[in-house]
């Protein structure tokens, strides 16, 4: 079969995109469409599944197969698609409320099972579709419609959560950096198993500039830590570095340490402890914050294992025989002519 040649337009539907003007979702949609077009994989082999929320309208705008489902359930529904159809590329589009509040249970379980899904969590730290309540990633003290005296909910750090849930691929990117987003999408696509990507996404209506410290022209220079596999972790034009001290990842002045002490980023470490330590450098987009791939390791995937059991059973026992099945508990026969029969 020849590889199809696509442009971004081939992945756009005729549906009017109905996010608010200026929403970060537009950029993420463009990045995903551009990335898929460049892959050259037949369009019909992609399935996009979402839950509820602004981000979850995403499948309607993708000219692939898709389900816009119900609150929090996208990972579960996607599991059904991926386990029965390993020939497909299955993507989950979710948000901070969808994935971490109402769907928290499904998220952690697809990650530990390592179902072959690509999960894009569009984190805007607010409930947008329901018009502005605090979310499980909103900062403590946040004043919203449902927290007029400030939120008292301690937020999740989505990357820490994913690492704790035994995820094999964990990354963070942001909406406005399309090149960075596409590089992460590519790595996630190539990863066999569950890939979890937190995407910082600006909600310019209910939570504008939430990510300004890593996106602002001035601020990002000082705060954006780009994790690059095999490279020492330095940022702020090389002036700052990350070292491990007593099990913690710590930011230091580069000039104050032996260059050999600077942590070399290794996303393939089997033990997630260092990745977790990196995720604790900031509890959100506040101050120096790592972006990139935290963890990328191999582990058998659920769908491959499940289908291997089916194949093995057929190989060992042969294709199941219905007649033998219904006789497997032992049978007896009542004869037509016998005195007791009929």
């Amino acid at each position: 079969m020849t590889t199809p040649t696509y442009t971004r337009a081939d992945f756009q539907t005729d549906q009017e995109v109905r996010w608010c003007p200026g929403c970060g979702d537009y950029t993420i949609l463009a990045s995903v469409q551009q990335f898929l077009a460049a892959l050259g994989r037949p369009r019909e082999e992609f399935v996009f599944i979402s839950g509820i929320g602004c981000a979850s309208r995403f499948p309607y705008y993708m000219k692939t197969f898709g389900i816009h489902s119900i609150h929090g359930r996208a990972p579960a529904i996607a599991t059904g698609v991926a386990t029965t159809r390993p020939d497909l590329s299955v993507w989950v589009i979710t948000g901070d409320g969808d994935a971490l509040s109402i769907g928290g249970n499904h998220l952690i379980h697809v990650l530990r099972r390592n179902v072959n899904l690509k999960i894009l969590l569009l984190n805007n730290q607010i409930y947008g579709l329901t018009k502005g309540q605090y979310s499980p990633t909103s900062e403590v003290g946040k004043t919203t419609k449902s927290s007029p005296f400030g939120s008292i909910d301690y937020p999740f750090n989505p990357v820490s959560l994913a690492l704790g849930a035994e995820a094999t691929f964990v990354a963070r990117t942001l909406d406005m950096d399309r090149n960075h987003t596409q590089a992460i999408l590519k790595a996630a696509y190539e990863h066999e198993g569950a890939a979890f990507i937190e995407i910082y996404q600006n909600c310019n209506v209910f939570n504008d500039k939430a990510f300004i410290q890593v996106t602002g022209k001035e601020e990002r220079v000082h705060n954006r830590i780009d994790l690059q596999h095999g490279k020492p972790i330095v940022f702020d034009s090389g002036s700052k570095a990350v070292v491990m001290r007593e099990g913690h990842a710590t930011v230091v002045e580069s000039s104050s340490v032996d260059p050999n002490a600077i942590l070399i980023h290794d996303e393939t470490r089997p033990d997630p402890a260092v990745a977790f330590a990196l995720s604790r450098l900031s509890h959100g987009p506040y101050g120096p914050t790592p972006l990139g791939i935290f963890r990328n390791v191999e582990r058998p995937t659920y769908d491959v294992e499940l289908n291997a059991q089916v194949d093995k059973a057929k190989e060992l026992q042969g294709e199941g025989d219905l007649e033998s099945l219904i006789r497997s508990h032992g049978t007896w026969t009542v004869e037509a002519e016998s005195p007791n029969g009929g």
């Binding site: 019909e44 816009h68 579960a76 059904g80 991926a82 379980h109 042969g318 199941g320 099945l325 007791n340």
Partner: protein
């Protein structure tokens, strides 16, 4: 040992026998009962069983709540229930005697493990004095057997040690029962060897205990006479013994074969539905994929995904789990995807009575969703019928692109009966084809353009070029499936989804009436009360009453002739193990003054209860 030292009479032949094994939940009574049943089945008796066990895995030993029992009726004719009253009760300890004696027929046979009647156990059961030593059991034929001592003696050379020694005493009891009721011993010995083959000493101990029990009967002539039930005059054919959960699992596999669709079963463990998962998970050679989800919601979610991707997708649970799935079922209804939802009902609400039968989820099945979301609802009437009803549920689901609810209940799920094996070739194929080509103008695909006969939308699965489409929970345009908030469109779509399900009435069998043509009363039932109703009607006829019966397998839509049938009887009785749910539906649909007989004690109807009600109504 025996309370009767006279020379044994020859075997007494009886047409039917009800035997109940009762003991502590750790005593293995379910196993003993099941083995007795299988041996009887292979011998050719007709039979029906009633397992009854506590929800606790091991309630404190020797206590009343810890008692587990298994009742089986065997007969040389066609029977319909496990019987109202045992003719023989095996009581392995005082608690089992205390809770079960009231059911034993006067003059019936009582087999007790006398070793268990020590002071401690008697106290736990609430006995002031030892019933084996006072006059309280005078009305029964009592066989006292020191089963602990005899079992220890029997297994002493087999190598089992410690707690395993007394584990075999249920097989001692079973052996004695095999002698008392002339059951063949080979099927049980074969079964033990197959089951415990890998643990040689356990297999040897169980066989030794079983044979010791049998021989105890032979050598001590434990009672004056033994009983025999000849094989039943069943319809010619090949039979097996099957319970409702197993038959349902096999039916799903058969539906997968008949449709050519791979079977996906997404579920979360719950009593009494888990055995369907256990059975299906063993049959990967049929291409069955089972998924034990993190919760009930994920179970239905994964099932929806599997259906979208082209599988014969099934989820199963019991009442509380179905409640959790409700939102997902409504989504599947909205997406118009084929799905089977199995509800093995139990006593409710909430955790309720997890191991007891009840039919209290009928209204929940019919109406337990948000929005206007009618679903086809089917119910099995007997354990073996689950096989064919599972196939029927699959047929309707894929033909009409709709979720279908299949109701079973704890009585049918765990009870077993002889099943005349069907000719598999005569079961029609389930005709299903994924859509392969665009159906709209200019090569577009319209995912909601319907089949003109069935109103079903096309099933276009991922991987099919040119048919990329999105579905979702939001209301959809009647053709393109795009999100639509148009008022007329929502009206049209709501009506269409309703018509689609209502129209299934033209594709299901008409309801048949059994019994007297000009009956004074029609007894209408659904679900596992089938046996009790049928037996009550038969016996009422023997007493000269004109009784008709009908049993609904389709609760939505109802058979199209139901209204006319009901109107042709003066009196209509609807016995249900709930507070009158079908009765409400019948009254609402047909404005007919049906009368309910209702019971929610966690037990099936006794035949006599229904007979009494029939008598009360016709007099």
């Amino acid at each position: 040992m025996a309370d009767d030292t006279a020379t044994p009479d020859p075997t007494e032949e009886v047409d039917k026998l009800v035997v109940r094994f009762a003991g502590d939940s750790g005593d293995g009574m379910q196993l003993a009962g099941n083995r007795f049943t299988d041996a009887s089945a292979l011998f050719g008796n007709d039979l029906a069983t009633l397992p009854n066990f506590p929800a606790e895995i091991r309630a404190p030993a020797g206590t009343l709540p810890g008692v587990s029992s298994f009742q089986v009726q065997i007969a040389d004719f066609d029977i319909l229930t496990a019987g109202d009253q045992p003719d023989c009760l095996v009581a392995m300890n005082p608690a089992a005697l205390m809770t079960n004696l009231k059911d034993l027929r006067q003059g019936g046979t009582l087999v007790v493990n006398s070793d268990a009647f020590d002071e401690r156990n008697l106290a736990k059961a609430g006995y002031q004095s030892n019933p084996l030593e006072d006059d309280s059991l005078k009305g029964y034929r009592v066989i006292k057997v020191p089963m602990d001592d005899l079992t220890k003696e029997a297994v002493k050379d087999t190598g089992v040690k410690g707690r395993n020694v007394l584990r075999s005493k249920n097989l001692f009891a079973l052996g004695l029962m095999a002698w008392l009721f002339h059951r063949p011993t080979e099927p049980t010995i074969d079964w033990i060897e197959k089951k415990f083959g890998k643990k040689e000493e356990v297999a040897a101990a169980n066989v030794a205990a079983f044979q010791a029990g049998y021989n105890f009967g032979v050598t001590t002539e434990a009672t004056k006479n033994t009983f025999e039930v000849k094989p039943a005059a069943l319809e010619p054919g090949t039979y097996t013994n099957v319970n409702g959960n197993t038959a349902l699992a096999w039916g799903l596999i058969a539906a997968s074969r008949k449709s050519g669709l791979p079977l996906f079963y997404g579920t979360y463990p719950i009593t009494p539905a888990s055995d369907i998962l256990h059975e299906l998970s063993r049959h990967k050679d049929f291409g069955v994929r089972t998924f034990q989800a993190e919760d009930e919601i994920a179970a239905v979610g994964a099932t929806i995904g599997a259906a979208f991707a082209g599988s014969l997708a099934v989820t199963g649970s019991s009442g509380p789990g179905i409640a959790l799935k409700s939102e997902g079922i409504s989504l599947a209804f909205m997406l118009e995807l084929p799905l089977i939802i199995v509800n093995v009902q139990r006593g409710g609400p909430s955790t309720g009575l997890p191991t007891k039968p009840e039919q209290s989820d009928l209204l929940f099945s019919l109406y337990g969703r948000h929005g206007e979301s009618p679903l086809p609802v089917l119910a099995i009437a007997t354990p073996s019928e689950a096989f064919i009803m599972a196939i029927e549920a699959a047929r309707l689901a894929v033909k009409y692109m709709t979720p279908v609810i299949l109701l079973s209940d704890n009585a049918a799920a765990n009870a077993s009966e002889p099943w005349r094996l069907p000719d598999l070739d005569s079961i029609p194929e389930i005709d299903v084809e994924y859509t392969k080509h665009p159906n709209g103008p200019d090569g577009t695909f319209l995912p909601y353009m319907r089949n003109v006969d069935t109103f079903a939308r096309p099933w276009a699965i991922p991987g099919t070029a040119g048919l990329e489409h999105r579905v979702g929970g939001l209301e959809k345009d009647a053709l393109s499936g795009d999100v639509s908030y148009d008022p007329n469109n929502h009206q049209l779509m709501t009506d269409t989804r309703g018509w689609k399900v209502a129209n299934i009435a033209n594709d299901i069998p008409q309801l048949e009436i059994n019994g007297d043509e000009h009956a004074e009363i029609l007894v209408l039932g659904w679900g596992s009360t089938f046996g009790s109703i049928g037996a009550a009607a038969n016996r009422s006829r023997l007493e000269g009453r004109k009784v008709a019966t009908a049993h609904l397998r389709y609760l939505n839509p109802l058979p199209s002739n139901l209204g006319d049938l009901l109107r042709s009887y003066d009196k209509i009785l609807i016995p249900e193990l709930n507070t009158g749910q079908l009765m409400k539906v019948i009254r609402a649909e047909f404005l007919i003054d049906a009368v309910g007989l209702n019971k929610v004690s966690g037990e099936p109807f006794k035949i006599s209860e229904i007979m009494d009600k029939i008598q009360e109504m016709v007099e």
